[in-house]
C-alpha cells in the first residue's frame, strides 16, 4: 500500500519527485529467488521458487535446474495459478554441490526474458 501511495504521490507531485525513481513494471525480471541467487544453503531444497516483477504466461514460461555436470535435476517448472508472478521448480533430491538455474519466461505483455543464477548445497 505504501508503494501505491508513493506512486499516487509521485503523479500528483511530479515536479517535486522527478528525481525519485518510482519502481515500474513491464518485462518480467527476476525479483528474487529461493534459494537466494548465489547463496549457499545447508540442507538440500526440494523446490526452487522464482519471484518475477510481472505476471507470467504459463504456456511460454519455464525453468530448469542443472548440476555442475550439466545433468537436469528438476522435475519441471510450474507457474503458481494463484500468483502468476511466482514460478516453482520441483527438484529431485540434491547432493551437495553447485547448481545452476536457467529461466526463460514470457510476461503477459509479450516480452521474453531469460537469465540464470547458481546456488550451492551443503559444504562450507
Amino acid at each position: 500500500m505504501s508503494n501505491n501511495m508513493r506512486k499516487l504521490a509521485a503523479i500528483a507531485l511530479l515536479p517535486a519527485l522527478l528525481f525519485a525513481a518510482a519502481p515500474a513494471r513491464a518485462h518480467a525480471f527476476l525479483d528474487h529467488a529461493e534459494p537466494r541467487v548465489g547463496s549457499s544453503v545447508g540442507s538440500p531444497p526440494r523446490l526452487v521458487s522464482l519471484w518475477f516483477t510481472q505476471n507470467l504466461e504459463p504456456a511460454f514460461s519455464g525453468a530448469e535446474v542443472r548440476d555442475s555436470a550439466g545433468v537436469r535435476v528438476d522435475q519441471g517448472a510450474r507457474v503458481d495459478p494463484a500468483n502468476r508472478s511466482l514460478m516453482r521448480v520441483s527438484l529431485r533430491p540434491l547432493r551437495p554441490g553447485s547448481y545452476k538455474v536457467h529461466w526463460r519466461v514470457l510476461s503477459v505483455d509479450t516480452h521474453t526474458t531469460e537469465g540464470s543464477f547458481s546456488f550451492q548445497v551443503g559444504g562450507p
Binding site: 525513481a21 518510482a22 516483477t53 510481472q54 521474453t112
Partner: protein, 646 residues
C-alpha cells in the same frame, strides 16, 4: 525498422489509429458539417471516407495477424516450422492474455466492418445510435492496445496505468487518425467552385476543439504513463527509452504548434479579411505535415513497446552537474533559488519580447541578457558535480548476502587505507594526501549510491586508485551496501537503548514451521523482534515463546548446527555476518534487534546492556515504543534507492 516486430506493431498502431480516428472524425466533425447536404460531390467525399475506413481496417487486420505470427516465431525459437508444427499460434491465441485480447479485438473489428457497411455515402449514418456505437467500438479497438504494450503488470495500480494508457491511445487516434479525413474534407472545400470557405472553417473549428480535448488528454495521461514507465528525469535523459520518448514529445510539440497556427492564425482568415484561398491551401498542407509527424510518432510508439522501459534500465546521466537536493532543504537557499528562477523567467521573457517588439527592442534585449548573466554563477549554488553513474540504482536489494560479501571484499581491498571499520585510519593512511575519508561520517549519507559506484570504479583524485578492473560491478555494489551497513552500525551503537534511529533493514528470508518461506519484505506490518540465538539462548527462547505478543513477530537466527526452534528462523551465515557489523563483533550470540512495522531497524540489545530486554516489561515497553514510531514508507527491495532516515 530493422526488427519486423517493431514494423508490425507500428503499422498496426497506425492503421488502428486511422480507423478509430476516422469514426471519431465522422461523428464529431464530418457528419455535423455535411449534415443535410446530399449532392453528388458530397456522396463522393463520403465514399472516400469509406475508402480510408476499409483500407485501415484491412491493414489493421493484416498487421495484427503479422504481429501474432512474429510473436509466435520468436517464441518458437525463431523457426517457422516450429511455429506451425507446434501450433504455437494456437497456444498463443487460446492460452495467453495477448491472444485472448487479440480474439476480442478481432470481434470488435468484425463489428466495425458491419458499421462501415451500414454507412450510406448518400446520407451518412442511418441513425444516431449507429454513429455512437461505431465511436465506442473503435475507441475500444484502439484503447485495448494498452494491454499489448507495457501495460498490465502486477499490483493494485495497474488499473490506473492501463486506463491512462488506453485513454492516451484513443486521444492520439482522435487527432492523428482524424487528419486524413480532414485533408480530404479541406481538399473538397478547396476544389468546390467557388471554394466553400464556410465548410472548411466549420470543419477546422470543430477539429480544433476535438484536438484540444485530445491534447489535454494526451498530456495528462502521458504524465501518468511517464511516471510508471520512466519514473525520473535521469530515466528520461539517461536511457535509450527515455531519449526516444523525448524525441516523441518534441514531435508532439511540433504537431501542437502547427495546430495552434491553424486555429489562431489560419482559421480566422477563412471567414474574414485576408487571403482565404491561400489560408485554405496552408491548412491542407499543415494537415499533411501533421500526418507525417504523427506517423513518425506511431513508429516510435511501435519501437518503444519492444524496449525495456527506462524505469528498468540504468540511467546514464549525460550532464556534468545535477540539481543538488541539499540546497532545496535549506529554506534560505530555497528562497534564493525561487529568486533565480524568477529572474530566469523574466530574462527569457524580456529577450523574447525584445525579438518581437519593434519599440523597446534594444533595452529589452539588454535587460534580459543582464539578468541571465547575473544568474549564471548563481546556478552553481543549486547544482553539484555529477557522474554518468550518479543515478545508477543498486541491483542488490540491500540483501544481507550482499552486505556480507561486501564486508569480505572491503577487508581484502580497502582496509589498508580506510581502516578495518572504514574510519580512514588504515596503516597506509598516514602517507596519503588527501587522507582517506571516514566512511562512517555523515557525508556518506549525502552521496548517491551511483556517486559511490563512480568513485570506486574510477578512483578519486591522486590517492584513491580505481577499482573498476579489480572488482566486478556486483562486487562494487556489494562494497557500497557494506559501507551503508557499516555507517549505520555506528549510529545504531551510538543510539544505545533508544528507538530514535531508523535504518534500512538488510533483506533476507526465513523459514517458518509450516514450511513457508518469508522475505523480510513480507514481514512488514508487524514489529519484528530479531533474536540471534547461541548455545545459551534456550531459556531465553522458551520465555519468548510463552510470552508472545500480538502484532509482533519473533525471528530467530541460529548457528548451523543448533536445534530448530518454535519460531520462523534462518541459519544463513550471511545474515549473521551482516548483523555482526551492527554488534561490532562476530560474537553475536544473544544480540537482539527490533524492526518497526514499516521495515526500519530501530534498536539493538545484547546481554549486559541497559535497559534490560530480558525483563518482559522492558521488552514490551520497547516494542510499544517502536510501534508508536510514526510509520514512514520504504522503497521496496529492488527499487534500489538507498534511503536513510534519522
Amino acid at each position: 525498422m530493422s526488427d519486423p516486430l517493431v514494423a508490425a506493431r507500428a503499422i498496426h498502431f497506425a492503421s488502428t489509429a486511422m480507423l478509430a480516428g476516422l469514426f471519431l472524425f465522422m461523428r464529431f466533425v464530418g457528419e455535423p458539417v455535411l449534415r443535410g447536404r446530399s449532392d453528388g460531390a458530397i456522396t463522393t467525399l463520403r465514399s472516400r471516407f469509406l475508402v480510408i475506413g476499409w483500407s485501415s481496417l484491412a491493414v489493421s487486420f493484416s498487421s495484427g495477424a503479422a504481429w501474432l505470427a512474429l510473436l509466435g516465431f520468436n517464441l518458437g525459437g525463431h523457426s517457422w516450422t516450429a511455429l506451425i508444427a507446434e501450433n504455437i499460434s494456437w497456444t498463443l491465441l487460446t492460452e495467453t492474455r495477448f491472444g485472448n485480447d487479440w480474439l476480442i479485438r478481432l470481434g470488435l473489428a468484425a463489428v466495425l466492418a458491419i458499421c462501415l457497411l451500414r454507412f450510406d455515402p448518400g446520407r451518412g449514418w442511418r441513425s444516431h445510435w449507429q454513429a455512437l456505437a461505431s465511436v465506442l467500438l473503435s475507441a475500444c479497438l484502439m484503447g485495448s492496445l494498452a494491454w499489448a504494450g507495457h501495460g498490465g503488470g502486477t499490483g493494485d495500480l495497474v488499473g490506473l496505468q492501463v486506463g491512462a494508457d488506453a485513454l492516451h491511445l484513443i486521444a492520439a487516434a482522435a487527432w492523428i487518425g482524424g487528419l486524413p479525413a480532414l485533408v480530404l474534407l479541406l481538399a473538397f472545400a478547396y476544389r468546390t467552385n467557388p471554394p466553400s470557405f464556410a465548410l472548411a472553417a466549420e470543419a477546422t473549428s470543430r477539429f480544433s476543439r476535438l484536438g484540444l480535448v485530445s491534447v489535454c488528454t494526451l498530456l495528462a495521461t502521458g504524465i501518468v504513463n511517464g511516471v510508471f514507465l520512466v519514473g525520473s528525469v535521469p530515466g528520461l535523459v539517461g536511457t535509450a527509452y527515455g531519449r526516444l520518448l523525448l524525441t516523441k514529445i518534441a514531435l508532439f510539440a511540433a504537431m501542437a504548434s502547427i495546430a495552434i497556427i491553424n486555429r489562431f492564425h489560419l482559421l480566422p482568415r477563412l471567414s474574414g479579411r485576408g487571403d482565404a484561398v491561400a489560408a485554405l491551401g496552408k491548412l491542407e498542407r499543415n494537415a499533411l505535415i501533421e500526418i507525417g509527424l504523427g506517423l513518425v510518432i506511431l513508429i516510435i510508439v511501435g519501437a518503444l513497446g519492444t524496449m525495456p522501459p527506462a524505469a528498468h534500465a540504468q540511467a546514464s546521466w549525460p550532464f556534468p552537474v545535477r540539481p543538488s537536493p541539499d540546497a532545496l532543504l535549506d529554506p534560505a537557499q530555497r528562497l534564493e533559488l525561487a529568486g533565480v528562477i524568477a529572474a530566469a523567467v523574466i530574462g527569457i521573457v524580456a529577450i523574447l519580447a525584445g525579438i518581437y517588439a519593434k519599440r523597446w527592442r534594444w533595452p529589452l534585449l539588454a535587460a534580459g541578457t543582464v539578468l541571465l548573466v547575473w544568474i549564471g554563477p548563481r546556478l552553481n549554488l543549486f547544482t553539484e558535480q555529477a557522474y554518468p553513474t550518479s543515478f545508477y540504482v543498486s541491483p542488490t536489494g540491500y540483501s544481507a548476502q550482499s552486505i556480507a560479501t561486501g564486508r569480505k571484499l572491503f577487508a581484502e581491498k580497502c582496509v589498508s587505507c580506510h581502516g578495518p571499520e572504514g574510519r580512514g585510519d588504515g596503516p597506509a593512511a598516514k602517507d596519503l594526501r588527501p587522507p582517506p575519508d571516514d566512511l562512517t561520517a555523515e557525508h556518506i549519507y549525502g552521496h548517491s549510491d551511483g556517486d559511490l559506484f563512480w568513485w570506486i570504479t574510477n578512483g578519486m583524485g591522486e590517492a584513491m586508485p580505481p577499482f573498476g578492473a579489480v572488482l566486478d560491478e556486483t562486487a562494487r555494489w556489494n562494497v557500497i551496501d557494506f559501507l551503508h551497513a557499516n555507517a549505520d552500525a555506528r549510529r545504531l551503537s551510538e543510539a544505545a537503548g533508544t528507538t530514535g534511529v531508523a535504518l534500512p533493514l538488510p533483506e533476507f528470508s526465513v523459514e517458518c514451521r509450516d514450511g513457508s518461506s518469508l522475505s523480510t519484505d513480507q514481514l512488514r506490518g508487524n514489529v519484528v523482534h530479531l533474536v540471534f540465538a547461541g548455545p545459551a539462548s534456550a531459556a531465553r527462547l522458551r520465555r519468548l515463546a510463552s510470552a508472545k505478543a500480538d502484532g509482533e513477530t519473533t525471528i530467530v537466527v541460529r548457528p548451523e548446527a543448533s536445534e530448530p526452534t518454535a519460531f520462523c528462523e534462518t541459519r544463513d551465515p550471511d545474515v549473521i555476518a551482516a548483523f555482526a557489523l551492527y554488534r561490532g563483533t562476530d560474537a553475536i550470540d544473544g544480540t537482539e534487534f527490533l524492526v518497526d512495522a514499516s521495515g526500519w531497524l530501530r534498536s539493538m540489545w545484547f546481554p549486559g546492556r541497559r535497559p534490560d530486554w530480558e525483563k518482559p516489561e522492558t521488552l514490551a515497553g520497547q516494542i510499544a515504543a517502536v510501534r508508536r514510531m510514526p510509520g514512514r514508507p520504504r522503497p521496496s527491495a529492488g527499487a534500489g534507492a538507498h534511503v536513510h532516515a534519522h
